[in-house]
Amino acid sequence: MPIITGRMFQHLDGHKDLTNHTDVLTIKDPDVLYIPLMNGNAPCNPLVKVGDEVKVGTKIAERNDHFYLPLFSPVSGTVTGIEKRMTTAMKMADHLRIENDHKNTEEQAFEPLDYESASNEELLNFVKNAGMLGLGGAGFPTYVKFLKPENVDLFIVNGVECEPYLTADYKNMLANMDLLKVGSLALLKLSQAKKGCISVKEDKKDLIAELQKTFAGTAIEVRPVPDIYPAGWERTLVYLLTKKRYDRLPIEAGCILNNASTAIALGNALVNGKPITRKYVTVSGDGVANPQNVIVPIGMPAHDVVTACGGYLSDECVICAGGPMMGTAVPNDTFVIGPANNGLTIFVKKDEESVKCLRCGKCTESCPSGLQPVRINAAEKTKNIEALKNLDVASCIECGLCTYVCPSKLDVTEGIRRAKRYMALMAKKK
């Protein structure tokens, strides 16, 4: 009901042409890699000791709490330690230090699988043991979504990539159409949905044509979505495709979603028996010399990636781990490329003058969660718990749109984060 609530999205200038047409660069692997022993907020236990030799594809760690997720080595070499380093979430975490011998000796991480003849159970176990995880940014183990696929009407491959500047998924899809097809059809099978669709932005005409060719005759249809932010967010995408809203999980609306890069990774695992060890990463923004897409091993420090792209263009830059909307600006570039990281956006530092809030309500009209950011900020300032409860602060996903649209250049999203922290604190006190 855009007449009475606003549209709950915005078209933003994606600046995608900075990296759309340049070739993808494969960077020489670094001498030392640091594999983050984290998945989301959960630690992963190392399976190798200091001094152990590892090969490409050696299982080096696993998450083993209520979820299971194995990690594999991207290079061959020696494990030389476990170090605490800062992650993109700006927390300290253990990283497995691997010295690269540059020989790339391989070992078969697992056997390939023919998804068509395999049973659903075999396929689910394969997804679990191959360490498939959401590559769109969440890093959530993929198999969990398919544990109980009941009443799924639509399986969605999410290739929307709505973050500005990022083109990694786009490049990955164009380069790996066959793997995308295998991975998507395997996930469709797991979902037990009758039909599936793959969504990309409607302005990517070349990609849509390729996808239509690839998926012709399958149960997966290509459904372009408008060039808006955040069209790639689960709730917005489900709403755009089905006009349904849901409370907690997309399965309530009969949908399961997976990122297109995840589908490609699964295709690679099924066909070639290879785990996720390398990533397409977009390095873009006005602060880097050569904006382009790169293929890098997981565990490569951001500093090395930026250097390979020509380095910074100014002495004072902002580097976002991810796109500029949801990617955190990290105050150093020692963090490494993790499995869920698909971009580095670098800007020359700009000074912004903010003025007072004029209550224009643009944040309220844009919020994809239907919240009222201006009211939340006001309630946070006065620590008005009652109002914060009414205003449903917890539904904020920090997509950043409220700060983006703010004509007064205020940090609206940051105010909501403060409100969320305050609410969490109050809940703890009780």
Binding site: V318, L358, T413
Partner: protein, 387 residues
Amino acid sequence: MKLIYKPSPNYRSPQSTSGIMKDLTYCLIAVTIFSSLYYTMAFGSNLGLRVVLMMITSVASALATEAIWCKVTKQEVIKGVLTSYGWVTAMILTLMSSIKVSYYALAVSTVIALVFGKLVFGGFGQNIFNPAAFGEAILMNTFAGSNRTDILTSATPAAAMKSYGWMTTGDTFSTMMTSKGFGSLGQMFVGWYPSAIGSTSALLILLCLAYLVYRKDIDWQASVFYIGTVFVLSLVIGLLHGQGIWYPIFQVLAGGVLFGGVFMLTDPVTSPVTILGRIVFAVGAACFTLIFRLRSNMPDGVLYSILLMNMLTPAIDKMLEGSQIKDIAKLKKRAIIAIACMALVTIGVGAIAKTQSAASTGNPASVNEFAAAIPESTISWEGTDYE
């Protein structure tokens, strides 16, 4: 090499608050130019010039007030003045005023509007009342006597209609329009008639609305729902009294409905933050406008309807607090109940209004005579159409 931390997102829309105010200023300048042209052609270059001088007086006092305020409160003067946007208040205040208002009264009202209407609340973004409306209320109630009596223009349509209690027969109406020289409703749409300085040209004001909406400076909802509600409710009230389509059209064109609806009701600072809230706000203002027109002593109800709804803004925001997805059914229900109550009361008030016409007074031999018999002095609120 230094990497800087800034909370995400690190990406911003090119639109700025200063840009919004700039667009608004362009629109107000366009209205001023139109008005100056009208007064020049209709009453001579003296009055045309007077429009410009009044504008300069008010804007200059606004800038001076804010500069002094910044100095006194130890803020950076130039930045403070530039981000307080006091000139917009001054321009709106001038355009709402009558051409007869003295420079002195206008300047003092501007100062009061800014200091007591805005700055004491904490400046831009913090004020409860639309500062221009606040200043105009002061101007009309405190400085009515300082109006220049040597400036002779004719009566305004709103004031003329007020003399029939905003409810008259079609015949009396057409006579009034001709005898007072307002011409047709079409002429009123173009804006070639005397009223408050800036509120006459429906055409120009609607163009401004289109421009501001196109530039995403304001939402269309507040203006359209305000003007639309005035139209629909006066259509209903008119039908109850057997009036034709001229009645709702005149209600929309006369007085400050369009100017107030486009330039004042859309003031984001003093209106609710949600679109649904703005719709309730606009409908409420429309209802008050009609009630004031039909039942109060004031010729027009726009100004006070806006000030009253400004007061209700926090309550409306509170009423519509919640998630616009999860709670939308509840919020919609609240809004509909509020709107329905206000509309019913307004229609009720309209229903009991008495149709007054030249004939119904029983006395004057001819309608024309009656219209002419309204002495100019009784229309001392002439330029106070906004009341």
